[in-house]
Symmetry: C2
Subunit: 381 residues, 2 copies
């Protein structure tokens, strides 16, 4: 993609400026930052919603004029002739509720107090994020989405979409995701939150305009990065190689390349991500449990009303949301005789594969979208 | 075992009170805390050295009079009629150099300054720990060890023993260990150290007599505990169950059982383990690389002079030191036609299995020790 602009939509532009959260609270006003790529066709049948993962943003493709040459996070995937082909499809990506890249979140100003929300921001769920996306889709005048697609936490949103709004997406693509956060992934998120909250600079979430809890956020991100890679890919990438030296220094400086990599990733993240958003968004992931929310604990019951066809992709070496968790979704959909395609892609890149194995995914996804578009077009006639 | 006592040995009791560390520094004086169970036979051929893991101590079996009813960390394994049968064998276990349970470590008083060493304590290696154990064995008048046994970091020490002192151990048992810390395990250790060092109360290691860096140590231990369990065992143990409530609280309190478990483990650890020791001991693990230390990077070359017969045990669900890392040791030993037995034990308990799967291990180990004892006895005649 070329130069793109981020747009803003205020819920108040289209009626009720509040939404009812899963917690029971009403919350608003809400601003949504979003980007679009390609053009909506006349019968509005070519819209695809892209849902981003934990640390993503609305900037999925192209370059911002103001930001130099930072491409969107799925740039290789979105554009003319790419998997999400902007010559054919109208692509929408919005920053999630609770995020820190334009959409209302804990770092936003609470109009009632004039201060940042901080931890007065309400706890939100994946469902709440999707409710806000639905309002954006309404605002764009789109009645049906050709597809909702996302990886990792984006895949949770895609699954939430077909459950909450079964009549809107024609199809969905759920990549490297799960129907419920496991004990292990809750554990990693909990330690990350604990490290932020323990940072003296966090100050109960009131650090805006002051030093940010950089150590806490770095540590949380370092833990995250370990879970995004596989043991094999880490071994290949870093092995036991030392950074800039030949022999052990026998002190506690950053010594192995893998340490240096994690330090770098941690520090970089502090600059671009809000500590409170990290706390809120990981909590939303922990709460995610499609079986519990829609089926009283049973996935088959939860999936009963699904109408969208689904493509599920997992990666063999992903141990954060491992293939067997994708297979649980697949098994339940198959038992219900839903239109389901599942591919477990052989990859050594771990969870991060959804951002790395572009070629394999691109072929599968572009074929799937073409078939879905044609099927939907015939049906529409 | 019944009531046991911890004993102390000072290197100065048997000559040189210093040892030369792998870093090249000379270090001393050194006190070693150790326990023994059973009796040394007249020809001193029944001694077994038990090496403890990261957070262990010399207290491997029995009960201390003063500590109420806290059993040793391998109590189920050591005693009359048990796998390490105290009716037959003389069992020795000592706290490692750099530890915090009686042996000299960073929390000890530096006689030159009258203050705690803190980070003036030298960086030590698994090799240095073993050198100190060797001095203890000398002190006890033992020329050959029937066996050196250990799990996790204890297994690293067992391997180090048969490499550094090929003429001393008749056999070794290496459980859930590795010949070199992988990039992934270095990464987890590095994040744990970073969390301690980032804790404002750490104060460059000078926290003795003041508040300890409790948050940092807790977080490091929480990360550790995730790596000790498997995804499956965590799922079975905790699932997505909530602690003391039926519904989400929509706040950031400790909510899931798995969070509560990690909090508890973290807090408990703060009370019993020294923050600086955690930094030093994990660094020693990171440095461990048998191929590099003894074979210029080649395991086969490193293992050339091994004389001990070895039993290697791994656990199918251990992802911290996964079976394929044990197999690397086994393959190299087999190529060299060494006396090697390998069993990959089916278990869902992850790395912790070496402390849980006692029955399976007990049978294998007691048979192995009996055979080794008989073989050695015949050979001696």
């Amino acid at each position: 993609m070329g130069i793109v602009d981020v747009k803003c939509f205020s819920l108040s532009d289209t009626g009720d400026s509040f939404i009812e959260l899963d917690s029971g609270k009403k919350f608003g006003p809400i601003i949504v930052a979003y980007e679009t790529y390609g053009s909506l066709n006349t019968d509005k049948s070519n819209a695809i919603l892209v849902c981003h993962a934990l640390s993503g943003s609305a900037h999925a493709a192209g370059f911002h004029k103001t930001e130099g040459h930072n491409p969107g996070w799925w740039e290789d995937f979105i554009g003319p002739g790419r998997a999400l082909d902007t010559d054919k499809y109208f692509i929408i990506c919005s920053n999630i509720l609770g995020g820190c890249s334009g959409t209302t979140g804990p770092s936003s100003i609470d109009p009632n107090t004039g201060n940042h929300y901080g931890i007065n921001f309400p706890v939100v769920t994946i469902g709440d994020m999707v409710k806000v996306q639905k309002r954006l889709i309404d605002h764009l005048g789109i009645k049906r989405l050709l597809n909702v697609i996302g990886g990792s936490m984006g895949g949770m949103q895609a699954l939430e979409w077909i459950l909450r709004y079964p009549d809107i997406p024609v199809s969905c693509i759920i990549i490297a995701a799960t129907s419920r956060s496991s004990a292990q992934s809750i554990a990693f998120n909990a330690v990350g939150r604990r490290s932020i909250i323990s940072d003296k600079r966090w100050k109960n979430g009131n650090y805006y305009g002051d030093e940010v809890p950089a150590d806490g956020v770095s540590i949380a991100r370092m833990i995250g990065h370990i879970t995004y890679l596989s043991e094999e890919s880490m071994h290949r990438k870093f092995g036991r190689r030392l950074q800039d030296k030949d022999a052990f220094s026998y002190d506690f400086s950053t010594e192995f390349q893998v340490e240096s990599y994690l330090d770098y990733q941690g520090n970089k993240f502090v600059e671009r991500f809000d500590a409170n958003s990290y706390i809120y968004v990981t909590k939303a992931m922990d709460y995610f449990d499609a079986a519990e929310s829609y089926g009283g604990g049973k996935l088959e019951k939860a999936f009963k009303n699904i109408r969208a066809r689904s493509l599920i992709l997992s990666f063999t070496s992903d141990w954060l949301f491992p293939p067997h968790q994708s297979k649980e979704i697949v098994d339940a959909l198959m038992k219900l005789k839903k239109d389901i395609t599942y591919i477990n892609i052989k990859s050594s890149y771990g969870h991060d594969a959804f951002l790395i194995e572009m070629e394999t995914q691109a072929e599968i996804i572009s074929n799937y979208l073409r078939a879905t578009y044609n099927m939907n077009h015939r049906r529409g006639k």
